[in-house]
Subunit: 449 residues, 2 copies
């Protein structure tokens, strides 16, 4: 390639053993005494120990190495040496060093800081080894998702963010004025559009940010998050579940293969991830309720502001975190729960021809309290039934005319699902809170930096 590769990166250092190279980066740490200084250099791709011997350097440069502070930016020229003692297996025998800027009073020191302090310094916190490792795993998850779909004949079809209608009600939507056309809403899901493009291109996926204007303060919710949504013509619910399992297996195994260093930094127990191999577990909603009843797990509800427990768990109610976690305790890999009650699921889901009370929906729950990582369904493909649901839910008929058209001109069985990127990254990295797994998290109480 071209002239712009005038320096090398730590992650490729093994290629240059015995050669003199130029590295650019920031001071991660220093130590030394007398005639020897060690400078740990981070360059974004890794950390390497640079060894400065007084006898190899001008007096001026050697003095400089003593003044280096955390996060000072420097250029290091030196010879790459394989060394068993050095962290990472290589070190740099420094021949010259230049300082871009000496950093003064870098606010994040090796001592413990509170999360509130750190999140206010998010632009700097990202340089810390844990956050850095999480971000690299995140990038790997994003790449694994794209590779999976691109490699399996899917075409990326971006759904719009600005939408005139509300897929699931406007109460949790961000809204904005849209010129002379009234209000526009930030999309919560690209699914309806993906259905249109799947009928044009066969197998598609939409992959972008999604928005939820919810005040919830859990460790699993963001107001802005990334979601991938495949949609497939001629796929029925079982096909949909098979694809979801394949995807999640692929993502986890890809991270195990390509992020060993990062998972080690995060002290992640990878034996747990290694178990994520198909087939996963499956049960129907009704079977799940039976299990809850048998194991005396109640429904928990707020009534007049007080927590109330209802026993036995009543068929027809949605599961919350307590039920999901109770069920998942038995499982060491993901579980798909399918065929949920019609009344608690979205209008576009297809009724089960075997049982009108349930829809052909499915949610995938992750192990280790990962929660719901996928939600999907086979879509209603009958014009009349879909029309009834739209009327029943008081949705604006005119806004859904184009969506109904998909059931008019060559309707076909089709299915899809959405996978929340941050939920998956949180699970794989073992991060405490979802705000750590996206570069600049947005929550109801935070929009900066």
């Amino acid at each position: 390639m071209s002239a712009y590769k005038s320096f090398v990166y730590v992650e490729e250092i093994a290629k240059y053993v015995g050669e003199e190279v130029t590295l650019n980066g920031w001071v991660y740490n220093t130590r030394g005494k007398g005639k020897l200084q060690f400078v740990l250099l981070r360059d974004g791709t890794g950390v390497i120990q640079c060894v400065a011997f007084k006898q190899n350097l001008s007096e001026e440069v050697f003095e400089l190495t003593k003044q280096l502070t955390q996060e000072s930016s420097i250029k290091v020229i030196g010879k790459v040496v394989a060394s068993e003692k050095a962290p990472g297996g290589f070190e740099i025998d420094v021949t010259d060093l230049k300082v871009y800027q000496l950093a003064v009073d870098y606010p994040i020191t090796p001592k413990e800081h509170g999360v509130e302090f750190l999140i206010n310094q998010r632009h700097l916190w990202l340089r810390s080894s844990r956050q850095h490792a999480i971000m690299r795993v995140r990038a790997a998850v994003m790449k694994a998702i794209r590779d999976f779909f691109d490699g399996n004949g899917f075409k990326l079809m971006d759904s719009p963010i600005l939408t005139p209608n509300a897929c699931e009600g406007t109460s949790t939507l961000f809204e904005t004025e849209y010129f002379d056309l009234g209000k526009a809403y930030l999309s919560q899901s690209g699914q309806l559009y993906a259905e249109a493009t799947a009928l044009a291109l066969g197998k598609v996926y939409t992959f972008g940010p999604a928005f939820r204007a919810e005040r919830s303060k859990t460790r699993k919710h963001l107001t802005e998050f990334w979601m991938v949504e495949p949609e497939m013509a001629f796929f029925e619910l079982n096909d949909d579940m098979d694809l979801a399992e394949d995807l999640v297996e692929y993502i986890v195994q890809y991270c195990l293969k390509t992020c060993q260093k990062e998972l080690a930094t995060l002290e992640r127990d990878i034996t747990k991830l290694e178990k994520v191999r198909r087939p996963f577990y499956r049960m129907s909603y009704t079977e799940a309720v039976d299990w809850l009843v048998k194991n005396d797990v109640p429904l928990t509800k707020k009534v007049d502001g007080e927590d109330v427990e209802i026993r036995p768990f009543p068929w027809g109610e949605d599961f919350g975190t307590p039920q999901e976690e109770a069920i998942m305790e038995q499982f060491d890999k993901p579980l798909i729960i399918h065929r949920y009650p019609t009344d608690i699921k979205a209008f576009y889901m297809k009724r089960d021809p075997q049982n009108e009370k349930v829809v052909l929906a499915m949610d995938m729950l992750g192990p280790e309290k990962a929660g719901e990582i996928i939600g999907g369904s086979q879509r209603e493909d009958n014009y009349d039934l879909l029309y009834q649901r739209i009327i029943h839910e008081n949705l604006p008929e005119e806004e859904f005319k184009w969506y109904l058209d998909l059931r008019k001109y060559g309707s076909v069985p089709h299915s899809g699902f959405g996978l929340g990127v941050e939920r998956v990254v949180k699970w794989i990295t073992g991060a405490d809170h979802i705000r750590e797994v996206i570069p600049f998290p947005r929550m109801s109480y935070r929009i900066a930096p």
Copy 2:
């Protein structure tokens, strides 16, 4: 792979010659007489001719093939036959056929429709061969961009869409209420955040939708578009330009290699695209002005609602479409114009140490009236100079504190650029209007479907 592959796709049909397969899709066209019916089937990956011989089918099924209408959805079972006469080189010798739905009065017929009509039917228009081909080229461009960056050591770092501040003024921003925190704005660029992540991870890119609340009604503007923005620590302007050339060459050559069929459908003159090989052309802004003066190309301006021409073109004014197109007439591949006047460029661009009147900015213009496809710069890395620019532009100092921090704690030379996906897809496909190159276009006068 797993059970969900119970049918095959047209694009992989060559693998199944001599075998009986199941195809699913929509009727693209039919013809026939007497004992022979031809059904052109599209399945989103391609179109194939299905041949129904009366003698091979039950009477009922043969009658069905005669009733098929455009966009009816069907399942076809038959033997794959290599045939030189058939479009695409293969055809299906039908043994059975099932109808999912007979489509009645599909609104888009092979006759000519006006664009206004078609764009209102965008959810169906996407099924047409031209739109379908454009969408597949778009998916290839998206993939080429990701492959290029992932393959060159860049890490994807998503910038937030919801932002508290305005990178380039609030007049062209969509705004929304953000809980108790006041207003939030939809991002026009992820650059400022990418600068932070580049200093944490070395080489990064952010790739997502961007928003501009502009009323412009040109063929090149959308209110919602996709932009990729690489940002590289330790890259100076020349490195930035080299990278931009490499990227654009890679995208164009990737499309030539993988989208031959689509470009043929679009009747694109690919000899023009084949020329897009490095090195591209480069000239400074000052050289460009000299050329305009020498060739008597005036500045065109609206003064009191009237077009006024100013000769000779005055140094310091920005170029518009007339100047860009005049300059590009000489070139058969992209041109980079660099070092623009400080006063017409953004506050975060670094002044040229050789000449304070210009900044280290660069724009790449495409040939064939593609217009500006890339805009980038080396960033101001001096705290004091950047602070002065922020004050000078009346930007809210408090909101930019974190951004200034990047110049305080290990500041380094760094550069980046933004490439507009739709501009590039429009150029490569030769589409007339930018609304054709995104699945569901958003313009100031359109937000549906």
